[in-house]
């Protein structure tokens, strides 16, 4: 394969040989000596005052080195855990410290830590820790939390409201006056538990006489963790190093600075030894943040021809017990609910509500699956109300290619794309007309097939520095270093930190393409704050769009400098130098050439570079794009509902995605596959359920179902490619697109299958029991 054709090449992942042989390095695999094990004693109460914690008996247990309660540690924290502004500057933010002191507010909140010489000893001793609680009434859902006289979770705030704000544009009253059809609907976004297959884990090593701290954490955000460990524990930031080694999945659940990262580090400082904490699954399901947990109330104004005029929408968000670090990112759901459609008016309201449950934060898609779910359910509700085909309603409302760049009601400018062409292509490939015929025929014979569409538009690639600074409080740029070594091999450093996305492979292709050396000659470093400048980490499908472009620009700057050196070596004018496939030659005489390896060596030899030039071939780029990127596409889900059991089977799933340039199409498709599966999980299987007693009833993988291989078909993937005009590579994000589209497509298919029974909506997850009941609510009579 010619190295100049690296962009678009499905080369195999360099990450894999270690991972398939069991020689990878996840946090729990790192060799440690003299390590202490930390066990976190957690609240068993959803809402209670801590009257006292008795640790004497536990301290006598074998192997115990120390036990600390919240009271013991409170003075050590110089700051509460961080919370970013993220779209809602009006919000009230109660302080959250890594460990509870006087009061607990959710089951799973840390109340004490036990340090012992083995994990078993720590857990044994923890059973002897006696926490005396005075139970307080708990609020366990959104409506109970804002009911009159509801128990208040944070007394200092006076109520359970963090925010209640409007985000509106256009004349909504005019839209409803013009309406010929109106539909009201409540749409549920059930609470989800992320379940990365590797739970979280931390190893911390504090060196007293150097006042230095090294932390290995299963995190998506090592650079942010570094900053906040320094701030919270009062250690100079230059003395703190955070490493994210191999990370076994994240999906947003490893995006915040967690209490346990601080506690493990603090424990190491107090004990003077390395300390290790590995979360178990039961713990993970309570202590690692949850996602979604929202109710949306929508009212739609439309015309009989399917034109959607206006939308009233309230997004009720269950924050859980505290404001999580990026928790209000989920409010982007309302901000981009317009999706790929023209709309005259949006009347939006965001309400953030505390409950006595695990805090919620980003989970794959974070706000954008909710937005797509709402607008795609709206399209189907309008289709149902007008008698039009769902595809026709979408085609009627989609932004046309000639309207690009289109500006949404709330002021976002879409970058590029022909959304209708994507819809039409997906319908053609799936054989939409034929499916509709099969459906009609099947219904005559008691077969219930459903066809569901979702045309999504995703905002991602976070993000341009100015709007992200204004809206999140952090300037999110990309960071990329490219360094050529003496022998012409390269190192690339990225500020993004993968957990399965294959950055090492993709980023080596980017450098290879620009410099013209084989990708094997490019080492890619990530996830270590001691290597390279501050990075902005991984979330929001930003890696290739931000850090990939930063690496690309650095590689280009290295190549430009290499050309200057080549001109000097070849005694030619720089303008006469042609650089191709790792070689520079004089235009018209290809035999007069130097290789990049020769140029790299020369760059370190002062007598071989132009006078006045700095030595070395290295560039660092902080890349700030002019806009977000906006991938889009149409997914089509075909389901069969078993009338005997209510079970939903995914018969076919076709996805058309446009994420701009695809650097490694194999990796891109893998991201889409996984995303689709996660969205289907929400649609059909997953739900974090709390009892009225505030206890998590789905607290193990026995009760919380994630998709298995037997639940899914092969996916049919296809694409259109509209390079983003925003960045030099022309890439858009792809990490979340599958999840953003598939929940809506699947539920639209289920509702479509149940149309003969007069069903207009189904709450997720569409479990067999729920579907069966909908089919039999009128004694099985059809509508």
């Amino acid at each position: 394969m010619a190295v100049s054709q690296m962009i678009g090449a499905s080369i195999k992942r360099r990450e894999d040989p270690e991972l398939v042989t069991g020689t990878g390095s996840f946090v729990d695999d790192l060799p440690q000596t003299a390590v202490l094990y930390m066990h976190v004693v957690r609240s068993t109460e959803p809402h209670a005052r801590i009257l006292g914690i008795e640790t004497a008996r536990a301290k006598e247990a074998g192997g115990v080195v120390a036990i600390y309660t919240g009271k013991d540690l409170r003075q050590e924290f110089q700051s509460p855990l961080p919370v970013t502004v993220t779209f809602v500057p009006e919000k009230k933010v109660p302080d959250q410290y890594p460990i509870a002191v006087d009061k607990v507010r959710y089951v799973g909140e840390p109340v004490a830590i036990v340090l012992a010489t083995s994990r078993a000893a720590a857990e044994d001793a923890a059973e002897r820790v006696e926490v005396r609680y005075e139970a307080l009434p708990a609020v366990t859902d959104i409506e109970a939390a804002i009911a009159k006289g509801a128990p208040v979770i944070h007394e200092s705030l006076g109520s359970n409201l963090s925010y209640d704000v409007q985000r509106s544009a256009g004349d909504i009253d005019a839209a409803f006056r013009e309406a010929e059809v109106t539909v009201k609907q409540r749409l549920q976004q059930q609470r989800l538990i992320p379940i990365a297959v590797e739970t979280r884990g931390v190893v911390a090593d504090y060196r007293r006489f150097a006042n230095s701290l090294t932390v290995w954490s299963s995190t998506q955000i090592p650079h942010f963790v570094k900053v906040w460990l320094a701030v919270i524990l009062g250690i100079p930031e230059s003395q703190v190093r955070v490493v994210a080694p191999d990370v076994g999945g994240g999906f947003g659940s490893k995006i915040r600075v967690y209490p346990e990262e601080v506690l493990t580090a603090l424990a190491s400082r107090k004990a003077g030894r390395p300390v290790k904490w590995i979360e178990d699954r039961e713990e993970n399901m309570r202590a690692t943040h949850h996602g979604r947990s929202q109710i949306w109330d929508v009212e739609i104004a439309a015309k009989k021809d399917g034109t959607v005029l206006g939308l009233r929408a309230t997004q009720w968000l269950d924050l859980g017990a505290y404001c999580s670090q990026f928790g209000t990112f989920q409010t982007i759901g309302l901000l981009v609910v317009q999706g790929p459609y023209r709309l005259k008016a949006l009347d939006g309201r965001l309400v953030g509500i505390f409950t006595n449950r695990t805090p919620t934060d980003a989970y794959r898609g974070a706000g954008r699956p909710e937005a797509t779910y709402v607008i795609e359910r709206v399209m189907d509700l309008v289709a149902q109300a007008t008698g039009l085909d769902p595809a026709a309603v979408r085609r009627k409302n989609l932004v046309r290619a000639d309207e690009q760049p289109f500006t949404s009601l709330l002021g976002f400018t879409y970058d590029s794309g022909d959304y209708r062409a994507g819809l039409d292509r997906a319908l053609e490939l799936v054989g939409y007309e034929k499916l509709r015929q099969e459906q009609a025929e099947g219904r005559k014979h008691g077969r219930y097939m459903g066809i569901g569409l979702a045309s999504y538009l995703e905002i991602c690639g976070l993000g341009p520095a100015a709007p992200t600074q204004a809206n999140t409080g952090v300037s999110l740029w990309g960071m990329g270093v490219v360094r050529l070594h003496f022998t012409g091999k390269a190192t690339a450093i990225t500020g993004s930190s993968p957990h399965g996305q294959g950055h090492e492979t993709t980023f080596s292709q980017i450098v290879s393409d620009v410099i013209g050396i084989p990708p094997e000659d490019v080492d890619v470093i990530h996830g270590d704050t001691a290597n390279g400048p501050m990075g902005m980490n991984t979330y929001g499908s930003r890696s290739t769009a931000l850090d990939g472009n930063a690496v690309h620009i650095s590689a280009t700057r290295v190549r430009d400098k290499a050309k200057k050196i080549a001109a000097h070596l070849l005694e030619a004018a720089e303008d006469d130098i042609v650089y191709e496939q790792g070689k520079a030659f004089v235009k018209g005489s290809p035999s007069k050439s130097v290789t990049i390896q020769e140029i790299a060596m020369a760059s370190f030899q002062t007598n071989r570079i132009p006078p006045g030039m700095e030595g070395g071939l290295e560039a660092t780029t902080f890349y700030d794009p002019t806009n977000f990127v906006w991938p889009f596409g149409t997914h089509v889900c075909v389901v069969e509902v078993d009338p005997q059991t209510g079970a939903v089977r995914i018969a076919r799933y076709l996805a058309l995605d446009d994420c701009g340039t695809r650097i490694n199409p194999m990796v891109v498709n893998g991201q889409i596959h996984g995303g689709i599966a996660q969205g289907i999980g929400q649609a059909l299987l997953e739900e974090g359920v709390y009892g009225d007693d505030g206890q998590l009833k789905t607290g193990t993988l026995v009760d919380y179902l994630i998709p298995s291989a037997a639940d899914l078909p092969f996916f049919e993937l296809t694409e259109t490619i509209t390079p983003s005009p925003v960045n030099p590579l022309g890439v858009k994000g792809i990490g979340e697109a599958g999840t953003i589209a598939s929940t809506a497509a699947t539920i639209n298919a289920v509702v479509d299958a149940l149309q003969p029974f007069g069903v207009k909506d189904v709450d997720m997850p569409a479990s067999p029991a729920k579907v069966w009941q909908l089919m039999h609510r009128n004694g099985g009579k059809k509508a």
């Binding site: 990450e15 729990d28 191999d246 076994g248 999945g249 999906f251 178990d280 294959g502 092969f714 599958g738």
Partner: protein
């Protein structure tokens, strides 16, 4: 009340004292030092800890180390021959059958047993065969493809070894 256990893992003999409650997966990871076998849950649902014990596929979180006394174990580290990958490892690599790679060792070990019992499985048989192993990254698409590829490669290998079966 520690007990002495000895077992063979990937052809090498291991002997240690263990607490009777020690799970086999903890023994393999912490005492034998073979960290390729992972832990993803505490209810035997995820399958990340799948290994082979005396020719049977087991989730090593549901076996006590003392129960494995005298057994022959095979873990992910024992599959490759030097740098020569096992056809399943090769197929997972070739077909992009992994992303974060955390479930992969268990998935490959489960697939190995599946192919040992059924060398030519249908797509449905593969999906049912690995139902006890959870992956959150891949949607299983490329895992199923990788197992199909490995079945084909191993089938061809078996044919070469036994010419009598060649028609």
């Amino acid at each position: 009340m520690r007990q002495r256990v000895s077992m063979t893992i990937n052809g090498a003999r291991y002997e240690h004292e263990v607490e009777p409650r020690t799970l086999l997966v903890h023994y393999i990871r912490e005492q034998a030092g073979l960290t390729g076998t992972h832990i993803g849950c505490d209810t035997s649902n995820c399958g990340a800890c799948t290994i082979e014990m005396d020719g049977h596929s087991v989730k090593s979180c549901t076996v006590f180390a003392v129960q494995a006394n005298g057994s022959q174990l095979l873990t992910i580290e024992g599959l490759a021959n030097g740098t020569q990958l096992h056809p399943l490892q090769q197929a997972f690599w070739d077909e992009h059958g992994l992303q974060c790679g955390y479930c992969t060792p268990g998935m490959i070990m489960a697939a190995r047993q599946l192919l040992a019992r059924n060398p030519n499985p249908s797509e449905r048989e593969i999906r049912l065969g690995i139902e006890g192993n959870l992956c959150r990254c891949t949607g299983y698409h490329n895992i199923v493809k990788a197992i199909q590829t490995a079945a084909r490669v191993m089938g061809e290998g078996a044919k070469r070894k036994s010419p009598a079966t060649v028609s």
